[in-house]
Symmetry: C2
Subunit: 206 residues, 2 copies
DNA sequence: TTTTATTATTAAACACGTTCAACAACAAAA
DNA sequence: TTTTGTTGTTGAACGTGTTTAATAATAAAA
């Protein structure tokens, strides 16, 4: 690697570290690109050269921590628990993680997941992997006989994620909402999705 | 009403009309507050005095049309159709409505629903009414015997709305996604939520 | 009527994210 | 080595949403 490339990587790292520090301490909307540049010891223009815009910087600065949180949640998942409990274990880990800095992750999610598709490559990939994992879990439950064979695992995975995501947003939007309330709400929603709400005759009829 | 109050209302209306026009023609991110002010024949500062910020102006400028779309969807809802089909009728009407200007409504929803709770009074109220309506619909189904008595109607309403909302966002984020694809996706998700995915023994066991 | 208080309006300024033209450090070619 | 090309960096500037201090028009009080 040439001298040019190494110094470029170094400044990139300087910016990333400065960004991570200020995003957490001052909040993502209170800290400016100029703040980050000053903290990193580079010019504001340099920040943009390296990260295209503030949202992209936010994404790159935070996605690794999220990835670790997911990995931790999956690693500690109780293998013998039922589908519902395993889902709730993941949710509990992730909500707990986001609870460390709700404002920060609210802004991150707002500025990424609601952009036009194609931006946010890191978080997009995370979501895809996540959904794939969920889908595989549900497929496996079919083999165990707990999930019906005619149920579409991909639809189930994306639906359960939708429920997870909606409650998460409500959780992040309301700083006073206790973590337990969010988890209970999600548990009720997920349970409903697993068991349905129609009476037997109606449910079977479809 | 004093002369002062009437002229104030007039300028407010001028701004609103200018905003509605430019939001639709130029797009919400392309048209600036200065553009709107010029179109309305007032100063940029005046726009802020009347609407606090651009997002609030966006919300006020658009929520009435959304309200009309909801009202139309509810009014044309087939009374004798099953719960699933009635939900899908509403979704079809609303997705079709948003399809008229996906970019505009994507920005609106991003800038409102992801803000801290308490902002966006208009859209918040709309959502509350919407959920109440859904909940009542589901309660009624209980009396008809199609929905189980032990199912929580409020959880069901918010869950079904979450599914509706998630698919809507994906629809608005992807300009190439056909309307039908979004509707089919939602139909599959909603059907799953109504009927569940667990096998009978598992589902009943809970 | 005259004086005082209120308020709708705005020009000018500010803060921020971002762009651009120029520079300087490095690499490649002669 | 000298010349030429490449590229990481930046100061200055731009466009935008928003704030602020001042103005002018109206209402209320004397």
């Amino acid at each position: 690697m040439s001298r040019r490339e190494t110094t470029k990587l170094e400044t990139r790292q300087l910016i990333l570290e400065a960004a991570r520090k200020l995003f957490h301490t001052k909040g993502p909307e209170q800290c400016t690109m100029r703040d980050i540049a000053r903290e990193a010891g580079v010019s504001p223009a340099s920040v943009v050269v390296h990260f295209k815009n503030k949202t992209a910087l936010l994404e790159v600065a935070l996605y690794e921590d999220i990835e670790k949180a997911i990995a931790g949640a999956v690693a500690t998942m109780p293998q013998d628990a039922c589908l519902h409990d395993r889902l709730m274990h993941i949710a509990q880990c992730m909500y707990g993680f986001y609870d460390n800095d709700r404002e920060l992750y609210r802004v991150l999610i707002r500025d990424t997941t609601f952009e036009k598709a194609g931006q946010n490559p890191y978080l997009t990939k995370q979501l895809e992997d996540y959904l794939q994992f969920f889908g595989a879990m549900i497929e496996q439950e079919k083999l165990l006989g707990t999930v019906r064979f005619d149920a579409d695992a991909r639809i189930a995975a994306s639906s359960l994620f939708s429920l997870y995501f909606s409650v998460l947003m409500e959780f992040l939007r309301n700083p006073n909402m206790p973590l337990n309330m969010a988890l209970e709400w999600l548990a009720a929603s997920a349970h409903q999705h697993l068991t349905g709400i129609l009476t037997s005759k109606e449910g079977k009829g479809k």
